[in-house]
């Protein structure tokens, strides 16, 4: 079966696709300030879900609740439930470290560690003990870099510094680093906002390929990018979820007037 055909099939079956993560009545407070109002949003398996909306609408906040990165912010409080494969991730029996190994994250600005390319990718497998031997680790690193489409560019200089790569390469290195842990879900927070158009195209292509193995949630400011890479789109405004729909429908015939206005560029 060709890739295009697979995709078509996947798109058709969209509504039959099982739910990977379910957010129910999710609200987030930073101190006294409420940033998110009772958001109900589902993330489907092996699907790219795009979160769009104007700045400050809460889309990044929601993304960060999915692997509890908000825990690192002082005074941040989350209510409601979020489940991963049916288990509440805010339950006290869940280890946040284990959760983040299952739900990985790629950030807005490429943030490779000041270590070699190899060490950057090997970091996750090492701390989680995913590789039993040096050969195992080598293999994980190579596979991850291949999945991130970076292998051919860096295979001769694996032991040089990761910070010496170009911006786009650094971001793909960060994706490889996330992939190396074999997560089930990958969260991407505006992964292309610091990249030039060519590097952006490269990363978008990559997101497309990763979809076969991973569930992806991506926050983006670019409507075109959401249209290009995602199958489902959720629109946020002022901390509320305005609309969640198939991407095709969202960009051609949205249910909500605010979505229409935002997509047409009337605000935001």
């Amino acid at each position: 079966m060709t890739e295009a055909a697979t995709e078509e099939l996947l798109d058709k079956k969209m509504n039959a696709v099982p739910l990977k993560m379910v957010g129910k009545d999710v609200s987030v407070y930073y101190g006294d300030k409420r940033a998110l109002y009772d958001v109900n949003l589902n993330v489907r398996e092996n699907t790219v879900t795009a979160l769009i909306g104007p700045s400050g609408c809460g889309k990044s906040t929601f993304l960060r609740t999915l692997n509890r990165m908000n825990d690192t912010i002082d005074g941040c409080r989350v209510t409601g439930t979020i489940t991963l494969d049916g288990d509440d991730i805010y339950d006290s029996s869940i280890d946040v470290v284990e959760l983040r190994a299952r739900v990985g994250m790629v950030f807005q600005k490429p943030n490779p560690f000041p270590k070699s390319i190899y060490e950057n990718v090997a970091y996750g497998p090492r701390i989680h003990g995913l590789a039993k031997s040096k050969a195992d680790l080598d293999q994980v690193v190579e596979q991850s870099l291949q999945k991130a489409g970076l292998w051919n560019e860096v295979k001769d200089r694996l032991h040089e510094g990761g910070t010496g790569l170009s911006g786009g390469q650094q971001q793909r290195l960060c994706i490889a680093r996330a992939v190396a842990v074999s997560p089930e879900v990958i969260l991407m927070d505006e992964p292309c906002s610091a990249l030039d158009p060519i590097a952006t195209a490269r990363v978008e292509e990559l997101i497309h390929e990763l979809r076969t193995n991973f569930t992806i949630v991506i926050v983006t400011h670019s409507m075109q990018q959401a249209a290009r890479v995602s199958q489902r789109t959720a629109m946020f405004h002022l901390g509320n979820l305005v609309e969640e729909n198939d991407t095709d429908k969202m960009f051609t015939n949205p249910d909500d007037q605010r979505t229409q206005d935002y997509i047409m560029g009337r605000f935001g």
């Binding site: 470290v97 983040r100 990985g104 560690f113 000041p114 680093r177």
Partner: protein, 493 residues
């Protein structure tokens, strides 16, 4: 007119000049501020500076030079036989003349006439006016003193007149220069720039002066004691002349340097782990409230004078170590003699280490906090725990900065004096037992320079050689630390 009064009047003139300059600028602009190149205040400041600065410089130069001119003139009035005496005698006479000159205005006409008839009464007359005169006065001294007073008076009057004149002329010409297109702001800012430059060069020039004075004294020492005997000598035994010894003793630097480095090493052994752990806790684990109370408290330690740490070592830590070692050896061998002496390397090292903790923790804390948040998030986002993140990402990233901070701390440890004086003793010995006293370079500098000494013997001059050696070591450490810190900075910006 006294200098204070003169300066006050100059300031008043400057203030008036400021107002006048601003008014003139306002008048020229006819209320349209766009017609002026600079804001009216700058015109005022320009006129004020023109009125004040040249006069100030004149006063400063005049007050520096005039004493020399007057002195030589007064010495010229001395009789020939005094001039033939030695320089020391002459300056003694000159000193008396100065004292007499100071007292002269307070005497009555009759008293002066009385002294002229019998100069030997001068001392008692002056004593009655609470002026102590060292020796019996000579008749010519009264005349010289009168000359001195007259000349000082003339000098002051001339200076006041000139300064006031210059101030008014300066203000006048500056006022004439005020015009709409005149760039007053640029002129004022140039003056500010020069004053900033002056301030920074004072600090640098002082350092150069200190080094130069140390170097000249050290060179004098090396003419008496060969450099290789100083730098490579292993015995420190500077005998003071008059102690019955024919030679001037031995000045070996090595035992002192060994003591300095040994005590510094023990101190770092205490300060580095404790300080670093404290910094990691403060930067990574402490809640904001905890941090905002604990950090200032820790930094209070840095504000304690080192002599107080010295007491602490002398009366608390030293005896405590001695007693505990006695107990220990009693338990093990049954013989209750202490193997740690109250004054020892370890006492000084521990107390100095405590003193250094806030330096290490405060500097390291700043460096750890400066590691970008993105790196923390990146690691946590991969499912690393906090401690894994610290160990594998943050500390490696902060390491060059921390090493730099530690080197700076080490240079403080090497330069520390008061703790060592009280806690480590003064015995210059070469040994490896940390439980026995040793001494450091700084302690020996203090030793060699306290007491009633002449600054021509090698026993005192050696202090300068020690000082410059110490200076070179700490300077090298600081430069290396700066180099490392700078290299680290390049990675993140």
């Amino acid at each position: 007119m006294s200098t204070t009064l003169l300066l006050a009047i100059l300031l008043v003139i400057a203030a008036v000049a400021f107002v006048l300059g601003r008014m003139r600028a306002g008048a020229l602009s006819q209320g349209r501020s766009s017609a002026l190149h600079s804001r009216p205040n700058y015109y005022g400041a320009f006129v004020a500076l023109a009125a004040f600065l040249p006069s100030l410089i004149l006063v400063a130069v005049w007050l520096t030079i005039s004493p020399f001119v007057i002195n030589s003139a007064v010495r010229d009035t001395f009789p020939q036989e005094v001039k033939n005496q030695s320089e020391a005698q002459q300056s003694l006479a000159h000193g008396m003349v100065t004292t007499i000159a100071r007292g002269l205005p307070f005497l009555t006409e009759e008293e002066i006439a009385g002294i002229r008839q019998d100069p030997s009464t001068l001392q008692s007359v002056f004593a009655a006016r609470r002026f102590a005169v060292a020796a019996e006065a000579q008749p010519y001294m009264l005349d010289s003193a009168a000359t001195l007073n007259a000349m000082s008076q003339t000098s002051r009057t001339t200076l006041s007149a000139l300064a006031l004149l210059l101030s008014i002329v300066g203000a006048f010409f500056a006022l004439r220069m005020v015009a709409p297109r005149f760039r007053a702001r640029n002129q004022v800012e140039r003056v500010m720039l020069w004053s900033l430059l002056l301030a920074s060069s004072i600090a640098i020039l002082t350092t150069v002066g200190i080094v130069a004075s140390m170097a000249t004294e050290a060179l004098r020492f090396f003419t008496m004691v060969p450099a290789h005997e100083f730098f490579f000598g292993t015995v420190w035994d500077p005998r003071f002349a008059g102690a019955g010894a024919s030679s001037s003793g031995q000045f070996g630097l090595i035992p002192l340097l060994a003591g300095t480095l040994y005590i510094g090493f023990v101190a770092m052994l205490v300060a580095v782990p404790v300080g670093l752990f404290a910094a990691i806790y403060m930067a990574e684990y402490a809640s904001p409230r905890m941090r905002s109370t604990a950090k200032p408290l820790l930094e209070v330690l840095a504000g304690i004078p080192t002599i107080v740490y010295g007491f602490f070592a002398l009366v608390t830590v030293g005896p405590f170590l001695r007693d505990i070692s006695a107990q220990l050896s009693g338990l093990v061998t049954g013989d209750y003699t202490s193997f740690i002496e109250a004054q020892s390397v370890i006492t000084a090292g521990i107390v100095m280490g405590i003193m250094l903790i806030p330096y290490v923790s405060s500097l390291s804390d700043d460096i750890i906090t400066a590691v970008p948040r993105a790196l923390r998030d990146g690691s946590l986002g991969l499912g690393a725990t906090r401690s894994e993140t610290i160990k594998r990402v943050i500390l490696p990233a902060a390491l060059p900065g921390i090493v730099g901070a530690l080197l700076m701390t080490a240079s403080r440890a090497i330069g520390e004096t008061m703790i060592v004086v009280l806690a480590a003793g003064v015995a210059a010995r070469m040994q490896l037992n940390p439980f026995e006293p040793m001494t450091t370079v700084t302690v020996k500098i203090v030793n060699q320079l306290t007491g009633d000494l002449e600054f021509t013997s090698p026993q005192t001059l050696v202090a300068f050689a020690l000082g410059i050696t110490l200076f070179c070591i700490t300077l090298a450490l600081n430069i290396y630390a700066l180099y490392i810190v700078r290299k680290y900075r390049e990675q993140y910006e």
